[in-house]
Symmetry: C2
């Protein structure tokens, strides 16, 4: 497994957005914007059971995550790996992301019946640009 160096990690810890790429059932690529987090070991994204990216990952766990600096998009970090889907603590985790991105304590768009999952990606390959 690889890891991120401090400057790469910082890009994920800052309030930047990630584009997560997965592969659809028909083999075509899918990319979607998400909130993102780094726990020191893995890139963390949060989604719902049943979403396209969740179904794609269940079928084919390889993903690539791109995060660029909103204030300077020429700085980016890209991580690829096999994603794990984790239900445990996924509700707390969406609140953590809500705090980071919206400054609120609770995720405001909860709906009954939603099952949240953490998409956990330990870096297998990392590349970056403009980060030094």
């Amino acid at each position: 497994m690889g890891t991120l160096n401090d400057k790469q990690a910082q890009l994920l810890l800052d309030k930047n957005f990630a584009s997560i790429a997965t592969v659809n059932a028909d083999g075509s690529p899918h990319v979607t914007p998400v909130w993102v987090d780094w726990d020191g070991e893995a890139v963390l994204v949060n989604t719902l059971r049943g979403r396209v990216k969740e179904r794609n990952i269940t079928r084919h766990p390889r993903v690539e995550v791109l995060v660029y600096n909103l204030e300077n998009p020429y700085q980016y970090v890209r991580v690829s790996g096999h994603a794990e889907l984790v239900e445990e603590s996924a509700e707390e985790h969406i609140d953590t992301l809500t705090k980071k991105y919206l400054g609120e304590d609770r995720y405001p768009w909860r709906a009954s019946g939603d099952t949240r999952v953490i998409v956990r990606v330990r870096p297998e390959r990392v590349s970056d640009q403009g980060i030094e």
Copy 2:
């Protein structure tokens, strides 16, 4: 073929960045940040022969392009389609993009032996969020 409405198109005409997703030879997804343009009919990206995304598209032309507003990432448009690779006018096109993104007349990083191509994606499926 689909198209973009004026507000979706504007997001591409503004100085925003795109994430273009393709599929690698081993079936894993690839995503890379690029300058982007809209010619009224197709999403245009510019790359070099031999780059990973170019090789991926040659093998498997299905792509998905995500553009979000750098000033408000909750606004995004996503376009999927089959990409065509076009060498004609690709050198002029990189200068057009340079003007848009850097404010300069000529692309400053030309290297001898580089063959530029336009990645042309006519929208087959379009989705957006936060654009109204």
